[in-house]
Amino acid sequence: MIRFDNVSKVYPGGFVALKDVSFQVESGEMAFLTGHSGAGKSTLLKLMCLMEKATSGTVELNNTDLSKIKYNNIPYARRNIGMIFQNHNLLMDRTVFDNVALPLIIEGCSLKETRKRVEAALEKVHLQNKLKYYPNMLSGGEQQRVGIARALVNKPPILLADEPTGNLDPKLSLDIIKLFEEFNDLGVTVLIATHDLGLIARMKYRTLTLKQGKMITDGLIEGLHSKGKQDAR
């Protein structure tokens, strides 16, 4: 469960990235987060990943107030969040297997268990034949899928994606979103930040819209979704 209660974030220098943002995403729910560049989407995700701290208000993940987590416990908190980025954030000098295995190695999984779970995660994203490849030998879509496999390999209860389809063509974007749907069906809470309105229109999910740091809409955007249906036809 993700809960924001009157959260504001002001960066040094006075830039207000978020202002009194409140919302709640229930466990097992899938939602989109949208808004123009600079609307505050990335800041909101950074707060959930403990990369930033809220200036005021409360951010809770699975009933834990993130502001109360001590520095030494931040890594353990991050293990409960699967994070996917537009630029994939892969280790370029390590193979696909090593990249996906990283969260399990960090957690201290046995070698046998690690191999089993990495192979299962890569099978899920259809990259089971590319275990020994290096990221620069893969296409953008494949790299993104490696990132997704890594985010999900340790079965986190929450999945956050920041512009996961940003560099991909529409068909690949849809494939990636379908993958998220599959994980959501397994009970994972999914929040996808994107400014791709076409993609949001094709999916019928709750959408949170940010504008200049403020939450302006929360729910299904009817006009947008009927437009999506027309586009699909």
Partner: protein
């Protein structure tokens, strides 16, 4: 709220033995992996190892020379003698009694009596004034007793104490021990030892700084990878480990280089030293590092390597934070 720290706690699903085995395996993997990292950057690694090795060679070689110099001076010390000049009035019989008494001293290894006649005969032969001495009416030389202290009593201070004691004997006019040169020699040896310690401390500091800087560069080189690891939940300890192992590897390899350098230098100089000491009819042989000294040298190098990398990782890894860009 159920449990505020629930979200932040590590999983304890595995038993202690399984977790301990996993911990050991991860250490072994990261230890071997860090050796692989050194192998992948051969130029930097070799340069760092050589700097460490050569820096340790200097104090180790000086230590070797101080150790050998001590062995030599100890030999000289044990050969030192105390000469007791007896009063002219002392008869041969009283002198023999004195010799018997001195033989019972626990600090005395041997006693030799030289009568006044024997002393004059020796002087005639050695001085070259044999004919001139024939014209003397009386023998001006006193009888002497040559006392060799035991090994324990042959050190400068103990020998001085023994001399004072022997001078208390009623037959003795004067005692003589050439302590000055021994004291000077020992003072010089102590000075050189202090210089070696000072130099070793300075070089150790430079080794720590060099390794710290090498590790700092390695950390900066892997800044992006560290940020990604933090993002997927790696603790600082997990990220630090390969760098700490790298410091240990630098120490082991640098220590081995230092041992090799000391051996080569020792072998090279021992020929020259043996030639020199041979001229003084000495069988002196340069003693190399013992196995315990080799172990100590390598252990010191490991400690220095670990310290350098520890200081660096503590300072730099905490400052690297993941970014979403």
């Amino acid at each position: 709220m159920q449990d505020s720290e629930h979200f932040a706690r590590p999983s304890n699903k595995l038993g202690f033995s399984a977790r301990f085995a996993g911990w050991v395996i991860r250490h072994v993997q990261q230890g071997i992996g860090s050796l692989g990292d050194l192998w992948r950057t051969p130029f930097t690694s070799v340069m760092t190892i050589l700097v460490l090795g050569i820096s340790l060679t200097l104090p180790a070689t000086l230590h070797l020379f101080v150790k050998n110099a001590k062995t030599v001076t100890e030999q000289w010390n044990s050969a030192s003698e105390i000469t007791l000049f007896l009063k002219l009035s002392v008869s041969d019989k009283s002198a023999q009694q004195l010799v018997q008494r001195l033989s019972l001293y626990p600090d005395i290894a041997s006693v030799k009596y030289v009568s006044a006649e024997q002393a004059l005969a020796e002087f005639k032969v050695l001085s070259g004034f044999g004919d001139a001495l024939e014209y003397l009416d009386d023998n001006p030389l006193p009888a002497t007793v040559l006392v060799t202290p035991t090994q324990r009593a042959s050190q400068a201070e103990a020998a001085g104490d023994l001399l004072l004691k022997l001078e208390q004997e009623r037959e003795v006019e004067q005692g003589k021990l050439d302590l000055e040169w021994l004291t000077r020699l020992q003072a010089m040896a102590e000075l050189i030892e202090d210089i070696v310690i000072g130099l070793a401390l300075l070089l150790c500091l430079s080794v720590v700084l060099i390794i710290g800087n090498t590790i700092r560069l390695a950390i900066l080189n892997q800044k992006d990878a560290i940020a990604i690891m933090k993002l997927v939940g790696a603790t600082d300890a997990f990220i630090q480990r390969p760098f700490l192992y790298a410091g240990i590897w630098y120490g082991i390899l640098g220590g081995l280089v230092a041992c090799l350098c000391v051996y080569v230098l020792g072998t090279y100089l021992s020929y020259a030293l043996e030639n020199l000491t041979h001229l003084y009819h000495s069988n002196f042989k340069l003693e190399g590092l013992t196995s315990s000294e080799i172990l100590l040298l390598i252990l010191s190098a490991i400690i220095l390597g670990f310290s350098g990398s520890y200081i660096s990782v503590r300072k730099h890894i905490k400052t690297i934070e993941p970014t979403a860009d």
